[in-house]
């Protein structure tokens, strides 16, 4: 990811302990801002982590079989600086 700004319209809180690592949310996310973690949760599953650029569209919430997502929409979009590639 190159340096620059990303418009963020929403965010999610992810219940990482409820996650069973099915990865259905990853392709479901239209702006592609969910990536699976490298860490694992208490039962050994990897879980999604949020990158900047969420639109609050709730696609992840809709496809998640384990009810892991709380989705929020910002009243006003926020511009976020993103640093260099990890």
């Amino acid at each position: 990811m190159s340096a620059g700004k990303v418009v963020v319209r929403g965010t999610v809180d992810i219940d990482i302990e409820a996650c069973k690592g099915c990865e259905l949310c990853i392709p479901a996310c239209p702006p592609e801002v969910l990536v699976m973690s490298t860490e694992v949760n208490a039962v050994g599953y990897r879980y999604p982590e949020l990158l900047p650029g969420c639109t609050g569209c709730r696609a992840c919430l809709d496809v998640c079989p384990d009810f892991c997502f709380e989705v929020f929409k910002y009243e006003h979009p926020v511009e976020v600086d993103v640093g260099g590639s990890p």
Binding site: G10, T11, D13, D15, A18, K20, G21, C22, E23, L24, I26, P27, A28, P30, Y45, P52, G56, C57, R58, A59, C60, L61, D62, V63, C64, P65, D66, F67, C68, F69, E70, V71, F72, K73, Y74, E75, H76, V78, V80, D81, V82, G83
Partner: protein, 254 residues
């Protein structure tokens, strides 16, 4: 990455549908059934049916939700939910009555029941969770399993000569005059979920309008029963079950 002051935000949707007493369950990673159940529960709430719904639950993996659905329920036997739902609806005609059944339940054991209930035009809504396998017993062939599908009772893949052909239940039901709305959705993607939610709403609205029998079939992923990697559930569904049990409104609707 820098963020300014904490932005004002409002919640979109619910983490767990409020008609579930808890979101915890022991169904497999990547199972489509909880996704379909969310669609059902959100639709019931949106239609204002929370305190006027009675559900009849069949026997399958989804039976676990009989313990957590915060809806008045009757637990039925494998295949028998439509007749039980008929008795409930005849005695409580002003309530919304649904069945929640899997394909093994509805199309194997209970094929007769759903056909007769639809033919009679009973004003109930049958919700079919179709994953083309008997999930709870470990992955065996059902009447909806497709040709070539490998299960524990069709190890080389379902073969027409030996195992016969799948039953496309929605098509059968749509031919009955008593069936007013028959639709098939799926939950492998957010787009499919959105379309399915509209169908779920139309099915229940059909019941509320007293138009006759309604059925909403939802194709659900079962990577365990399909013996595919969890994340491959959606693509497997689209390539196999979804080619035979095709998404769309089969009767009634827009």
């Amino acid at each position: 990455m820098t963020v300014g002051d904490e932005p004002v935000r409002h919640q979109v949707g619910e983490k767990t549908p409020h008609l579930l007493q808890t979101g915890e369950h022991d169904l497999c990673p990547g199972c489509g059934e909880p996704v379909a159940i969310r669609i059902l529960l959100e639709t019931l709430a949106e239609l204002g049916l929370t305190t006027s719904t009675i559900g009849v639950v069949g026997i399958g993996c989804y039976t676990a939700f009989a313990r957590t659905l915060d809806v008045d329920l009757v637990q039925a036997l494998h295949g028998r939910a439509p007749s039980v739902a008929t008795g409930v609806k005849r005695m409580q005609p002003d309530k919304a009555v649904f069945t929640l059944q899997g394909d093994g339940d509805m199309v194997n054991e209970g094929l007769q029941e759903v056909l007769h209930t639809a033919a009679r035009g009973e004003n109930i809504t049958c919700v079919l969770l179709n994953n083309g396998v008997f999930g709870e017993t470990g992955g065996h062939m059902t009447a909806t399993s497709v040709l070539g599908q490998r299960t524990k009772t069709s190890l080389e893949g379902r073969d027409a000569g030996y195992h016969g052909y799948p039953i496309v239940i929605g098509d059968l039901l749509a031919r009955l005059e008593g069936a007013a709305y028959v639709a098939r959705g799926s939950v492998q993607s957010a787009g499919a979920v959105a379309r399915t939610k509209r169908m779920m709403r139309r099915a229940l609205e059909t019941q509320l309008a007293g138009e006759g029998f309604s059925m909403i079939e939802v194709l659900t992923m079962c990577p365990t029963g399909w013996f595919v990697p969890t994340a491959s559930g959606p693509s497997y569904m689209e390539e196999t079950l979804g080619q035979v049990h095709v998404m769309g409104e089969l009767k009634g609707g827009a």
